[in-house]
Amino acid sequence: MTEVRKLALGVPGFDVISNGGIPEGRSTLVAGRSGTGKTLLGLQVASHLARSGVNTVLLAVEEPPEDLITCADSLGLDMSGAIRAGTIVVSDVTRPMDGPMVVSGEYDISGLMHRVEYLVKQLGARALVLDSVTALFSPRPPAELLRSLFFQLVHGFRKMGLTSVLLAEGAPDSASVTTLGVEDYVCDMVVLLRNVFDAERRRRSIEINKYRRSAHYKGEYPCAITSRGLTIFPLDARENGGERAAERYSSGLPALDAMISGGLLRDSIAIVRGPTGSGKTLLAGLYARAGALRGERVSYWGFEEPRAVLLRNFAAIGMPMEDLEAKGLLKVTCSYPEAMGFEDLLVQLRNRLEDYDPSLIVLDSISSIEHSLSDKAFRQFMVGLASMLREHRRSALLTQTIQGGSATEHTAPYLSTIADMILALDYSPDDFDLNRTIRVLKMRGSAHTQTACRLRIGEGGLNIEHFAVKQESTRRRSDLRSRQLEGLHVLVVEDYGDAREATVAALLRDGADVTAVGSASEALEAAQQHAFDAIVCDLGLPDVDGYTLLERLRGGGGRGADTPAVALTGWTLPEERQRAQRAGFAGFLRKPVALDELRDMVARLAGASAAAPATRDGGP
């Protein structure tokens, strides 16, 4: 079999799935329903070929040339420039609108073919884009004549040595490729564009349906229409050539680096997996910050919190990011994946890779994307993402939230395949404490610690301790202090779900009964119904702030008027602490709090209060 000579199209991803482009000197059919991006693809092809030194004739049948030129220019393809430079000619083949046209009997397309021949000679053209065959043969001639006309068209182009791309309206059903139903038999390559409704979203895809004498990627591949035209995502982990040195870099956590023999490997993808509150976002923040502090460019994508909240939380734990952003070393982008299709997200990521050129990418978390997509679409997203990262040779850290079960348990096999390293963060409860743990589940190409280590949240982010060493002393303290809050009923007021769950879990473990609410109004209601021994209250609440809540409790004269309260907050300015004292908070703890510190504070306040029963039960 002779090798097919190909022309690369320069449409992102297309040359990958077609193994190099379209067949040179032959016809390629691009079929799709209205709105699938056929015309955009045609314009991209014409512009790219012209830029590559292949002068191109564009036959405008469906839309006037000026509309196509405007559209191409708006995509940054500079078709006007190419026309001025004499590398593209756009010929008006639109149907005359200033008078009637009557069609009957037999005819041929010699008028068009002689025009093309003339233009090809004038321009020295080697390629042609026809938009569209469907409009050219409208009204549809009888089947036999249509076949004959299309045969004349394709063979005429071939005789002229043209590489042609013919656009056609796709058929509404799968019985045929196009509405005309004849084009695919004659063309050497057939490309199908689709725009289907899947899981309440429009999903675009491209498929090479046929490619004579050439291998090509089979099946559908996601694509998106962007401000730069059509972009295709080949779903394979395509390697960018070249040897890879086993260069390592720090995760931002020296103890973690020690667990993995000196740091993460360059150009690798790490997945940090764990339940809510296990420290995934903090680890992601540490990773991003460490990279930026080394002078690398880091792109951080947050999908779970608004940007202001994320940056505030990082700053509160001693990981300020603003300076790094101001220096151009870090770009933090927060968005909600529900607001866009996954193809659009991939496009944004690719644009960021090309425009900002980060060496490290963080996605926190891929679970937010997963929840907004069908299983198939999420798999396509992940494979497309991995492919893009490998193609650009970038390192990435992705977080994944585990709903129930354990972070060490098996999840979707393709995720495990994509990741070069998997870190499992988890809770490891004992009688006394809510121990967070970290374990390296997998690391390709590197030795790593097999056992779990303890992970602590504190100033500066996270700290790791070797579990085995600490276990004994922990257990001893546990024996002394276990069930220290037994018999106490604590009200937790916290709007942020993860923080609320973590606080509640810690208090429950220490033996307290806990009522948890997410707003001040719910807290006031709860305080009317129960006599609490202590209140643990966030200051930033959605309806009124924690100061106001406590003032209302104190001023209400009912239950809760004298319940000792501790502020647990990310607001750490001295004036905020003073204001909390004035509002009536007896304790002030900064987030993230060490759990034993919280327990000790609650125990101390509730104990002190218990010494004065008249006030502890609330109200005179």
């Binding site: 008078g99 009637p100 009957s104 021949e117």
Partner: protein, 99 residues
């Protein structure tokens, strides 16, 4: 109204000389024209392979195509439509029958 001295109707037939369909339509039109006042009609036959620019100007891509250029609005008759309709067309344009 066109002045009496000028032809009322201007027709251009674009043909592919190697196609039977083109030859057939040309014959039909020429036969029909015999029945009408020749001074009222300008009829031109052009080969699409030689008159590429005029064909493009007249927005012709198929052969045969009969283009009625005058009186306005223009009209295009593709295939055998030109042969079938030319008599009706001339009559509608007020061209008198030949005596």
């Amino acid at each position: 109204m066109l002045p009496a001295s000028e032809p009322r109707v201007e027709l251009v037939l674009y043909v592919n000389p190697t196609s039977a369909a083109s030859l057939k339509v040309r014959t039909l039109i020429e036969k029909a024209l015999h029945d009408f006042d020749a001074s009222a009609v300008v009829f031109e036959v052009l080969d699409v392979s030689r008159e590429v620019l005029r064909a493009a100007e007249d927005r012709v891509i198929f052969a045969p195509t009969l283009v009625k250029k005058r009186p306005e609005p223009p009209a295009w008759f593709v295939g055998d439509a030109g042969g079938q309709m030319v008599a009706t067309l001339l009559a509608a344009c007020g061209v008198e029958k030949a005596r």
